[in-house]
């Protein structure tokens, strides 16, 4: 009896149809872009449950004992359409310690729609960081197709402000990221210790922190820029919220011998001031204009520095590139001189950073710009805002950051007067484009020889201890050399670097009857005199530009470093 029961039980288990659920997916259909610039896709999902059984618990209590213990359904299915949005939250998809609410793919950069005309996914464009150097502030031109603009976008404070004792704040994360990449434990804290201000002189530390946070982690989810958002490009309204162009002024530092303390990189080469022409990143628009009258003035464009520092650090951290690798693998490129072969970016760059239209700028003083760049194998994705007329954010475009170009241009001029008795050229102005060489006499090696003149016949060298009449003849032929204008410019750099400017007090005299007193006293720099040459005028001005090489991409659900968000659109 027991065996029969057992067999029945087992067979019911074996032969009873089990409940199973199968899931099927429809094809992924691209639905364009959502209002935040994220790619969206629709996809149907069907979940079908076969042999679904419903136990009837209450049956036991019916009067008649009728009713089924269990009802079985052959198949119950539900189909729904899911929307998947793809956001390039690159850094947050790697560092889980960051709150995803503080991240997005949107970066605080704006481009004109002209930059995208005729471009498709996969095409590459090169855009220059925009800065109008004529008035040293960001100005907006709604048709310029070759630039990108920095934006000031509001941000939730908790995603960039320092929170004491909390090591997981964005601020400390940024600090660790910058310090680790740059190999300097204090870089980030020093970063904000320089006095940087906006045009009205207000401190911009908060604006800078916000800008860097927006670059590295993207705009936070609460402040995402929406298609159609009003955009402030009026230069009198910069830094106003919620979305406007950003601007803060340069730091000016005066010093006697050129301080490199502002920069992370301190160069060991001796020839010129900090040797910034090595094309290193992290040193931005840098200008040093020294005459023998004015003390040196250095100006650093902090927006460009911040942008370059942040992008280099962030893109490198993302790709797992160390600073050494970044530096070692950078490509240094001198521009091709022939106009036909010239890389287009240089055509605009020269005038762009040295304002060719300015009549005060002598084009001959300008060296050809140079380009130093690094190309990432594992590029980050950045979503830029796109505008038509600058009034609104009209759309978005996502790019792969393929390479970061540090562009340097230099203006050099040195006016030298020879005060020795051997050269004969008087005063000369040297410029990089100059071609006329001038003699340089190495006074330290000038030798004088005693020669005899025996009244008749030719001179002969004093060699036997007696001359009826002698004189000193300077033998300079071997000590004199011809220096090209570029060599003279290097000589000037060296002379300026190694001879601090000294000052003298100069006063006007004011006399009443025979009582006189000094008025309007001021410091005037003494001319720098080296080896019998006086530097009358010296200009060394280096300007930095930055360009990004960007590949247009359509974010896909299988793109790298993206966050997928899901939304049920409807069910059938």
């Amino acid at each position: 009896m027991n065996n029969i029961l057992l067999t029945l039980l087992l067979s019911s288990v074996v032969y009873a149809a089990t409940t199973t659920t199968t899931t099927t997916f429809g094809n992924e259909n691209s639905m364009g872009m959502n209002k935040y610039g994220n790619a969206i896709y629709n996809r149907t999902v069907t979940i079908k449950t076969d042999n679904y059984k419903v136990d009837n618990f209450w049956k036991k209590f019916s009067y008649s004992g009728e009713g089924q213990d269990q009802i079985e359904f052959e198949s119950i299915a539900k189909t729904g359409t899911m929307q998947i949005s793809v956001e390039s939250t690159s850094i947050c998809s790697i560092f889980s310690e960051l709150d995803s609410q503080g991240c997005s793919g949107q970066k605080p950069f704006l481009i004109n729609n002209e930059a995208l005309i005729g471009k498709n996914s996969g095409d590459t464009i090169t855009l220059l960081f925009q800065k109008n150097f004529e008035i040293d502030k960001v100005t907006y031109n709604d048709t310029n197709s070759s630039v990108f603009y920095p934006l000031n976008i509001d941000r939730n404070e908790k995603y960039y402000k320092e929170v004491p004792g909390n090591t997981k704040t964005f601020y400390s994360f940024f600090g660790r990221m910058f310090n680790a990449f740059l190999g300097d434990g204090n870089f980030f804290s020093q970063f904000f210790s320089y006095k940087v201000s906006d045009n009205s002189g207000k401190s911009v530390e908060d604006i800078r922190e916000k800008y860097i946070a927006n670059i590295v982690s993207g705009i936070d989810q609460e402040h995402l820029v929406v298609r159609g958002a009003t955009l402030e490009t009026d230069i009198s309204q910069l830094n106003t919220l919620p979305v406007s162009l950003i601007d803060y002024s340069e730091t000016q530092t005066t010093g006697t011998n050129g301080s490199c303390n502002l920069f992370f990189f301190k160069f060991s080469e001796t020839s010129s001031f900090c040797n910034f022409m090595g094309g290193m990143p992290f040193i931005s628009l840098f200008s040093s204009t020294t005459t023998t009258v004015e003390p040196e003035v250095y100006e650093i464009d902090t927006i460009q520095t911040d942008t370059e520092n942040s992008l280099v650090t962030f893109a490198s951290s993302f790709s797992g590139v160390t600073m050494e690798e970044y530096q070692n693998n950078r490509v240094y490129r001198e521009p091709v001189i022939e106009a036909s072969k010239r890389i287009s970016i240089f055509d605009t760059l020269k005038c762009f950073i040295f304002r060719c239209s300015d009549p005060n700028i002598d084009e001959d003083t300008i060296d050809e710009p140079k380009d130093t760049y690094y190309t990432f194998n594992d590029p980050v994705n950045l979503t830029f805002a796109v505008t038509d007329l600058g009034a609104h954010v009209d759309s978005f475009q996502t790019f792969k950051l393929k390479s970061i170009h540090s562009l340097t241009g230099e203006a050099r001029m040195c006016k030298v007067e020879e005060n020795n008795e051997y050269d004969t050229w008087g005063t000369a102005t040297f410029k990089p484009s100059g071609t006329t060489s001038k003699t340089f006499t190495n006074l330290g090696s000038v030798t004088k020889e005693k020669w005899c003149n025996p009244l008749m016949g030719s001179d002969y060298k004093y060699e036997w201890g007696y001359c009826r009449k002698s004189y000193y003849k300077t033998n300079i032929s071997e000590q004199q050399s011809l220096k090209t204008p570029l060599e003279w410019l290097d000589w000037c750099d060296y002379a300026i670097d190694n001879n601090p400017v000294t000052y003298k007090e100069v006063c006007d005299e004011s006399c009443i009857l025979w009582f006189c007193k000094d008025v309007n006293c001021r410091q005037e720099a003494n001319p720098i005199v080296v080896d019998g040459y006086t530097i009358k005028e010296y200009v060394k001005s280096s300007k930095r530009g930055m360009a990004l090489e960007l590949e247009l991409v359509n974010l896909k659900t299988n793109s790298d470093a993206v966050t997928l968000r899901y939304k049920l659109m409807g069910t059938d």
């Binding site: 409940t19 899931t23 999902v45």
Partner: protein, 98 residues
Amino acid sequence: MRVRMRKGIVAIVPLFFAIIMLFGFIAFMGGAGDSLHTVNNVENLQHLQTKLFQPAIKYRYSLEKEARKNGTIITEEEIDEKVNIYINKMMTLNKIQK
């Protein structure tokens, strides 16, 4: 004292009524056509299926991501199989299947 007792007995009457109604209800549920609870259960199942759309698609993309990360290739069949196992587990957890 007697008065109180009488009142106490009377108080049991509504309680009896309540118990009788409860039995009545149980009897009704037991005898009622299966449609009543079946409808509820099918609705619950469909609700659960709707709830599982997101986990299913999320799991699908995470499988693809994992494969990309490891440099391996995952076929559609493998994805379907893994998603089915995953969703079946969900069904088991929700006591839809054993």
